[in-house]
């Protein structure tokens, strides 16, 4: 009973929203879905993505909308509950009839709603770096694939930091497990012996890193070791604190992190992290007029809408990827002259565009994005100093060439109904 009242209120609210926007513009609005957790554990990261997607939509509307029609966002909250992602996706597609959905952060949430998008032949823009090994015609991956983040970082550690021993440390779930598989395959391919690679996992929300840091200390005593960290979320704080508190520094053993960006640093005590590294495709500190304008407008947007953090809000890699995802979709709609999924998909392939962090390109076939790779060193103010840039854009792998050495990739899933 309760739910039906709740639903009625919600429908009424959505109706009112649509009514309002219809009033503002004669053309029928285009509805787009925003599928990010606003409560639960992942709210910490995903709320920022909702904010930037709404900002991008506001910008689209200010510039006259898409195909002359205003864009209306339908925001739902899957509450960090993986099966709920599938339900909410279904609600967006079947009930709200959205033209496209921007959403998901964790791989498990994406895997959960993927069948829904494939069943309805709907479109999802997924903005977060992930473990790869997936290629659905119903998803555009605007975050990094493993060869655009993991492999360049390991190569940097070997070449520039002189690392010969690697401690692969991660939270125990699909991204770190697959990421470490790719990393291990890469390290073996460049001649690092198995005895110099340690793989270790901790449970989600692990707080006590004493024994692991002890092991790293012994492992790094030779002075040529490095930690490649896929530790996720709130476990990072106790890990870095413990690391610093037993007297280890980035000179003794640098940590290269794949899940620590500016938005995470905002909520961490930075001094223990200074000098450690991260690998991403975008940093707030990219010093171009376009990026500075983007950072400014995001901060202004957060201030104007009284979002928590306000002017202290920062941009980072997933935020940029979520932002340009909206712009890519709009550009493809414009070229296709319709919001029809199959037509839009065709136009996204090979699309070249200017993102805040610089020019980028969509892949011609594999649904992923050509991106530059940057290695950044953490500074005292929670920003990154870019210490290494890739030569131009790096081509994305949907399936890792390291894990499929024979070149036999599975066919893409989903797509138009046969």
């Amino acid at each position: 009973m309760k739910t039906s009242v709740y639903r009625k209120i919600k429908v009424g609210f959505a109706g009112a929203l649509i009514g309002l926007s219809c009033f503002a513009s004669a053309a029928e609005p285009i509805k787009v879905g925003v599928l990010h957790s606003l409560s639960g554990t992942m709210a910490i990261s995903e709320t920022s993505l909702r904010d930037v997607v709404l900002m991008a939509i506001e910008e689209l509307n200010a510039a006259g909308g898409v195909l002359g029609r205003p864009v209306v966002a339908v925001v739902v909250d899957p509450a960090s509950d993986w099966p709920l992602f599938a339900e909410k996706a279904k609600e967006l597609i079947a009930k709200e009839k959205v033209a496209v959905t921007f959403g998901c952060w964790t791989s498990v949430s994406r895997k959960s709603c993927l069948p829904v998008f494939e069943e309805y032949n709907a479109l999802l823009f997924y903005p977060v770096q992930y473990e790869g090994e997936e290629q659905s015609l119903n998803v555009f991956y605007t975050g990094a694939s493993p060869n655009q983040q993991l492999v360049p970082a390991a190569a940097y550690a070997i070449k520039e930091l002189g690392a010969k021993k690697f401690y692969l440390l991660g939270t125990d779930y699909v991204f770190p497990r697959t990421a470490n598989k790719v990393l291990k395959a890469y390290l073996q391919s460049v001649g690092i012996p198995d005895s110099s690679i340690v793989e270790e996992y901790t449970p989600f929300h692990h707080q006590d890193y004493q024994s692991i840091v002890g092991k790293i200390k012994a492992f790094a005593a030779t002075g040529d070791a490095c930690v490649l960290s896929t530790i996720n979320g709130d476990s990072n704080v106790p890990f870095y604190k413990e690391f610093a508190n037993v007297g280890l520094t980035s000179d003794d053993c640098p940590i290269v992190a794949f899940s620590v960006a500016e938005d995470e640093l905002r909520a961490m005590e930075v001094p223990p992290l200074v000098g450690h590294l991260a690998s991403w495709n975008y940093y707030q500190s990219i010093n171009t007029p376009e990026n500075r304008a983007f950072v400014k407008s995001f901060k202004k947007y957060c201030m104007k809408n009284n979002l928590p953090g306000g002017v202290k809000r920062v941009t980072d890699d997933p935020i940029e990827a979520a932002y340009f995802g909206v712009k890519v979709w709009a550009a493809a709609c414009k070229k296709a002259g319709t919001t029809d999924v199959d037509a839009v998909r065709k136009e996204v392939y090979g699309l070249e565009f200017d993102a805040p962090g610089g020019a980028k390109k969509m892949h011609a076939t594999n649904q992923h994005t050509y991106k530059p790779v940057y290695i950044g060193e953490i500074k005292r103010d929670g920003q990154f100093k870019i210490v290494h840039r890739s030569d131009g854009l790096v081509e994305p792998d949907s399936y890792s060439k390291l894990l499929h050495a024979d070149g036999s990739f599975p066919a893409p899933t989903g797509g138009p109904k046969k």
Binding site: Q210, F219, G223, N245
Partner: protein
């Protein structure tokens, strides 16, 4: 050509003698300016010339330069501080002196800053970064700061091990006032000699023996690799193995020390968390699922005080923590009191309902905090809890852990004496043992319930405050500890303080031993849970079951 130059520079860099006299400021400034030159050869030469001046203040400069903090401002080299943003979102860079790192002052004595667009960032390429890094450790040997000297001495014994600086290291080994630096200098020297393939085998073996006498943990790791890579000649292998056995013996003690230390530390955190629960669950029989959230509230109180006192990582104001401990106790106790008064009080006879109600409260509190504070928050520990003390060689005690251990001891003693020696404690025990009888004797059991619940919540608040020194602050941080706390209380025996202490320490030491020697954290958690299930089968009432008539209830 460029590469040759860099190699040549690196060689000169490490070979150059430590010159004592500080160069003239102007000369240094002119050299620093050359770092902004377009020609890589000029830049590399400038770094090398800077090193040759031997000015120890350059250690800080090289570190800043390497991390990209060198700027040109009106044609003059400056270091940039943390960027400040004004209300218009324009960014300003505080200007600092290149050598001292102190703020530059205008003629009116105001600190200078510049709009970010008006300064030119000096680009640091990969070769310069490498040179600057080597240079940093090179000039760090002469630093007045013992920490810098220690880092330099240590780093020079790490790969790539260069023998050029042996004399400088030996000089430090003989003359440095700090024992740890003397030790590390000798360790580095011996490491360089032991791994130097150009030295005769007997000298290398002698260096290895020296490292054995030092019980060097670093040497043990290097030796293990050498044995694995078969770098040691067959006939000398027994000598090296003897050295390894010697070091392993000492390091065995170190790892035992570490395991006990970690066990005590995890145990003390568990006890601190479980104490409050032992009070509410053990004495009142209320399963308070919102107990973890009382801890979270303590942590957020600490965070708010940190804001009030303006404590940041760059500007420490450690007083906030002195106030944070009692205030987190009071705030958590106050909210606990509200929960007891508003909800729990009406559900005393219905444990299942009180469980569900408190679980609901915990969810409400988590989301409320998330709405108010947004998301994770940065907690900056007071500076005196950052760092560690080395009690014996390689045996390290982080201050934060020691603090939590001592805090636990104090809280436990406090609770115990409250129970034992005060009238209030007497009333609490009386109410717990026989409520109608206590009432008949004139004890206001309603008030006692309220007080007990507040006390339990308050202790959780203190635990939350203490935990900010070793972990982060998140809205759902309480959830990470609530299960473990229940385990401790149940295993210890409901209502027994001594039980909580024994089971808390026991669980801490067992889990750290498992993790330290045999299992990954994931597996150690599984094993612990299985052990506990088995334990409860045999001792359903925990370590210290109630005795006598109380056991019948």
């Amino acid at each position: 050509m460029k590469r040759l130059w860099i190699i040549a520079c690196l060689l000169i860099l490490v070979a150059g003698a430590t010159a004592e006299p500080a160069a003239e400021e102007d000369d240094l400034s002119a050299l620093v300016l050359k770092l902004a030159d377009e020609d890589a050869v000029v830049r590399a030469k400038a770094i090398q010339d800077l090193v040759l001046t031997g000015d120890h203040r350059l250690e800080h400069f090289f570190d800043q330069y390497r991390s990209g903090a060198l700027y040109l401002w009106q044609g003059r080299p400056v270091l940039g501080g943390d960027i400040r943003m004004d209300d218009e979102l324009d960014e300003y860079l505080p200007l600092l002196d290149v050598l001292s790192g102190e703020p530059l002052l205008s003629e009116a004595g105001q600190p200078l800053e510049s709009l970010i667009d008006d300064v030119i960032e000096v680009e640091v390429g990969s070769p310069e970064r490498k040179l600057a890094r080597a240079a940093k450790f090179r000039v760090g040997l002469a630093s007045t700061n013992p920490k810098t000297r220690l880092a330099s001495v240590k780093r020079l014994g790490d790969p790539p091990r260069k023998s050029e600086l042996l004399n400088d290291l030996l000089a430090l080994h003989e003359n440095d006032p700090v024992k740890k630096i003397r030790y590390t200098a000798l360790e580095s020297v011996s490491l360089i000699r032991m791994t130097d393939a150009s030295l005769p085998p007997e000298e290398r073996e002698a260096a290895a023996r020296q490292l054995g006498d030092l019980d060097s943990a670093r040497a043990l790791a290097v030796l293990r690799e050498m044995v694995r890579n078969k770098e040691i000649p067959e006939d000398r292998l027994p000598a090296y193995e003897a050295v390894m056995v010697q070091i392993e013996k000492y390091q065995g003690w170190v790892s035992l020390f570490d395991t006990i230390k970690r066990g005590l530390s995890s145990g003390s955190i568990l006890i601190l968390m479980a104490l409050g629960l032992a009070v509410t669950f053990g004495m009142m029989g209320v399963i308070n699922m919102a107990h973890g959230e009382m801890m979270m509230i303590g942590a957020y109180t600490t965070f708010c005080l940190q804001l009030v006192f303006g404590h940041t990582s760059s500007e420490a104001n450690n007083w906030f923590f002195v106030f944070a401990l009692p205030i987190s106790f009071l705030v958590a106790a106050g909210i606990g009191g509200l929960i007891e008064f508003g909800i729990v009080r009406h559900l005393y006879k219905r444990p299942l309902e009180s469980l569900l109600a408190t679980f609901g409260i915990s969810l409400v509190l988590i989301q409320l905090i998330r709405l108010v504070f947004g998301d994770n928050q940065a907690s900056n520990s007071p500076t005196w809890l950052v760092g560690y003390v080395e009690v014996m060689q390689d045996m390290v005690l982080p201050y934060g852990r020691v603090f939590i251990f001592l805090l636990t001891v104090i809280v436990v003693l406090g609770i115990a004496s409250l129970m034992k020696f005060t009238t209030l404690g007497l009333h609490m025990r009386a109410t717990m043992q026989n409520r109608p009888m206590a009432q008949a004797m004139g004890v206001n059991t309603r008030m006692i319930d309220l007080f007990t619940f507040m006390l339990g919540s308050g202790i959780a608040g203190v635990a939350g405050c203490a935990l900010t020194t070793i972990g982060g602050i998140t809205p759902d941080m309480g959830q990470n500890y609530i299960i473990d706390s229940f385990l401790v209380v149940v295993a210890g025996g409901v209502g027994k303080l001594l039980g909580v202490i024994c089971s808390g320490l026991g669980l801490g030491v067992i889990s750290q031993t498992l993790e330290g020697y045999w299992l990954s954290p994931v597996w150690s958690k599984i094993v612990i849970l299985m052990l506990l299930v088995a334990f409860i089968q045999f001792k359903p009432a925990g370590l210290f079951p109630p005795k006598g008539r109380l056991a019948d209830d």
